[in-house]
């Protein structure tokens, strides 16, 4: 099954520690490292997208997913930085949609959120724009032709001309099409609205609840919504789990053998494709994950050694990834 790990960008202040933890998690077979913004009371030295830029250079095969806001300030910047990350990782990058702002930034931008439902609309448009920008370069458009003198083929690079009440984005993106075609997208699912958003945009939908029955309900809503969006087979559903309490996700045993069984059962019960392990980055938690959980639940990648080990390919989604999805 798919196993990802979620860590807060504020966990370690030392980059050497980050490097060795990332490599350890990579070696254990975990498919992707998901970096979240620090939301606790104490400030963190790093934020996810730039920390991901650094980690791109000290890892080789693991996916690197960074949380970045789908609300502010501008989608063009998010598209650029994630596309750059995909180039830096040679196709291992992902964007975790940040659909909830931090309280410390609620009045920090030109746009101020009036309500959660308006946030939803804005996040939807924001994600549409990012996807369309990632698709603005056709494959091969960046191939320079020394003889003809064309650095890239402008006839294959297209403006997106996106207009709505909130956004005006002409495009095209200035960063070339990334190695995977586009970064992978993950969306957290806590309620029916999240399920709707995930059904449109997610490659990976992560069900986050500490209740097994809610997990079952959310999974059902998600499956319905995915069918409604015509995307069966294109979304990997993960169940968020943790060896810790009070993390907002399903708590499992601290004893690895037991936990492996609990996770396998819970994932099977809701028809998911795997689990996202939320860790506090402590040695105990990492030992539990890297020595116990990951080796038992992941398979060595079945991709041939020479093929580009992109994150979407690793998730079994390389062919399914479609572009330019506009919500109804």
């Amino acid at each position: 099954m798919i196993i990802t790990t979620r860590l807060s960008a504020g966990l370690y202040a030392d980059l050497d520690e980050w490097s060795s933890v990332a490599r350890r998690i990579e070696t254990s077979g975990v498919d992707a490292l998901v970096l979240d913004r620090e939301t606790g009371p104490r400030p963190a030295p790093f934020e996810p997208t730039t920390l991901a830029g650094y980690l791109s250079q000290v890892t080789e095969t693991i996916g690197i997913v960074a949380e970045d806001s789908a609300l502010y300030p501008q989608p063009y910047h998010v598209a650029r930085r994630l596309a750059t990350l995909d180039h830096l990782t040679e196709g291992r990058a992902g964007w975790r949609l940040g659909t909830v702002g931090l309280t410390t930034e609620a009045r920090g931008y030109e746009w101020v959120s009036p309500s959660a439902s308006v946030d939803r609309v804005r996040a939807t448009e924001f994600a549409e724009i990012v996807l369309e920008l990632w698709d603005s370069w056709e494959e091969g458009a960046e191939r320079p032709d020394k003889r003809a003198g064309d650095f890239h083929d402008d006839s294959r690079i297209h403006p997106i001309d996106y207009r709505s009440t909130s956004f005006l984005v002409r495009g095209p993106l200035d960063v070339p099409r990334s190695p995977q075609g586009r970064p992978a997208i993950t969306v957290d699912v806590r309620d029916a609205d999240d399920a709707e958003l995930a059904s449109i945009f997610a490659d990976v939908a992560v069900i986050r609840t500490d209740s097994a029955s809610t997990a079952t309900e959310l999974a059902a809503k998600l499956v319905d919504a995915i069918a409604g969006s015509g995307r069966e087979g294109e979304v990997r559903i993960l169940l968020a789990v943790s060896d810790l309490d009070r993390t907002g996700c399903l708590s499992v045993s601290a004893e690895p053998g037991e936990a492996v069984r609990e996770i396998a059962d819970a994932v099977a019960a809701i028809g998911a494709h795997g689990a996202e392990v939320v860790s506090d980055g402590s040695l105990e938690s990492l030992d539990w994950l890297c020595d116990g959980i990951a080796p038992a639940l992941t398979e060595p990648t079945s991709l041939p050694a020479e093929s580009p080990a992109g994150l979407l390919a690793r998730l079994g989604l390389a062919d399914a990834a479609r572009f330019g999805r506009r919500a109804a």
Binding site: E47, Q74, H77, R80, D154
Partner: protein, 429 residues
């Protein structure tokens, strides 16, 4: 204070004909190895910093090719993993960014770099760029610099109020003309209080902003006298703001064509110019620059100076530069068009073509003549130019006692010999 050295980073070099050279590897786009090699080599040459230019817009056509566009903070974070001492200057647009987002990512990047980050704040122009960010056209001229100044105020306030390890950030309240910000940074304070501030602009507003804020200003100059005037002006403006004139470094752009012999150096220059111009409509390019159709005019005659309009678009500096060049050197329309087309940025800098010793001689002469505190190497072709510069020119400069032969610290403030913001009072505008 030793002569400051900066390298403009690009994949193939800043000459627009560089990518077409036989030796340039265009098989992978982007070519990240090229950026890393240039940074690592510059560090070997004890450069103070590398510089990442940026404008968040796709550039169509063939006229100015400087490589693949990538997000500068992401690049800086990646280069951090391969270097230890060299600074990295990341360019951001103050016209099309908001300060909170930049403050967060810059603080994180500076923490990743351990104090080696500088930020180049650009009051960007260009309708095309504006249209990526919710606007139909670029900001009006008088808004751009006012917004840029306020932008730097806000990021500085956010960093000053941010927490250090163990302490929480304070919320700032900034209610200004362009920004209304009530927020606290969730990222710890950058290593020295805030990243080094860099500016690049020769307009009066650009000089003023630099004099008020900048630790370094990147300058282009075409004659020694003009460069001296600029240097003196910047220092005087800094003094008028109550600053020590040494606290603003003037970094002069230079495009060096280095050869074992003078002939070899000129061969390289001519090859690159020829590469770039081949197949190009240079008069159309100049027409666009000057916002005036030059095609009806005799290409072997002079520019129709008295008919040229006031240029209002992105390229005011370039338009002025080439018109002046044509007038002063008696260039024909065709010659001016060729010059404006070739070399991309080359005509904005001063160009040195020769052996390593000759280049070191000229750099020393201009430096002693008070035109600059150091140089931005606008390498025409990479990796060749930086390899040659570090292997051949830097030892000459070091031998003459002009540049350092080892790093004395590991932050940009160390390299600049500058007091950190914690040690100085903020300057109000």
């Amino acid at each position: 204070m030793p002569m400051h050295l900066s390298l403009n980073l690009s994949e193939f070099g800043r000459h627009s004909g560089a990518w077409r050279h036989d030796v340039s590897d265009v098989s992978r786009m982007p070519n990240l190895e090229a950026y890393l090699h240039a940074s690592v080599t510059a560090e070997r040459g004890i450069f103070d910093q590398v510089f990442i230019a940026d404008t968040p817009v796709h550039s169509r056509g063939r006229t100015s090719v400087t490589g693949t566009r990538l997000d500068p903070f992401e690049m800086a974070a990646a280069i951090a993993a391969h270097t230890e001492s060299i600074g990295i200057i990341a360019t951001i647009s103050t016209s099309y960014n908001e300060p909170l987002d930049v403050a967060r990512r810059a603080a994180s990047t500076d923490n990743i770099l351990g104090g080696r980050l500088g930020v180049n704040y650009v009051a960007s122009t260009g309708d095309d760029t504006a249209r990526n960010f919710g606007r139909e056209r670029q900001l009006p001229h008088d808004h751009r610099y006012a917004r840029s100044n306020e932008f730097i105020e806000v990021v500085t306030e956010l960093w000053a109020a941010s927490g250090r390890a163990g302490s929480t950030a304070q919320t700032i309240e900034h209610h200004g003309r362009f920004f209304d910000v009530t927020a606290a940074l969730e990222i710890t304070q950058p290593v020295a209080g805030r990243p080094i501030i860099v500016q690049a602009g020769s307009s009066p507003e650009g000089r003023d902003l630099a004099a008020r804020w900048a630790d370094a200003i990147y300058a282009g100059g075409s004659t020694l006298e003009r460069a001296q005037e600029y240097y003196a002006d910047i220092k005087a403006r800094a003094v008028a703001y109550g600053r020590d004139p040494d606290s603003v470094k003037v970094i002069l752009g230079v495009m060096p064509f280095i050869g074992e012999t003078v002939e070899e150096a000129y061969d390289l220059q001519n090859t690159l110019d020829g590469n770039h111009v081949e197949g190009a409509d240079t008069i159309a390019h100049l027409s666009k620059l000057l916002e005036f159709d030059l095609r009806p005019f005799d290409p072997d005659g002079p520019l129709p100076f008295d008919q040229l309009p006031e240029v209002t678009s992105a390229s005011v500096s370039q338009a002025t530069l080439f018109t002046r060049m044509a007038r002063e050197e008696g260039l024909t329309l065709k010659e001016t068009a060729y010059r404006s087309y070739v070399g991309g940025l080359a005509n904005m800098q001063f160009v040195l073509t020769g052996t390593a010793v000759q280049i070191a001689d000229e750099m020393e002469r201009w430096y002693e003549a008070k035109t600059c505190d150091g140089y931005a190497i606008v390498a025409p072709i990479l990796p060749k130019t930086i390899d040659d510069f570090v292997d051949l020119v830097v030892p000459e400069l070091q031998r003459r006692g002009l540049t350092r032969d080892h790093y004395e610290g590991n932050t940009l403030y160390d390299h600049f010999g500058a007091k950190t913001p914690r040690e100085i009072a903020p300057v109000s505008g």
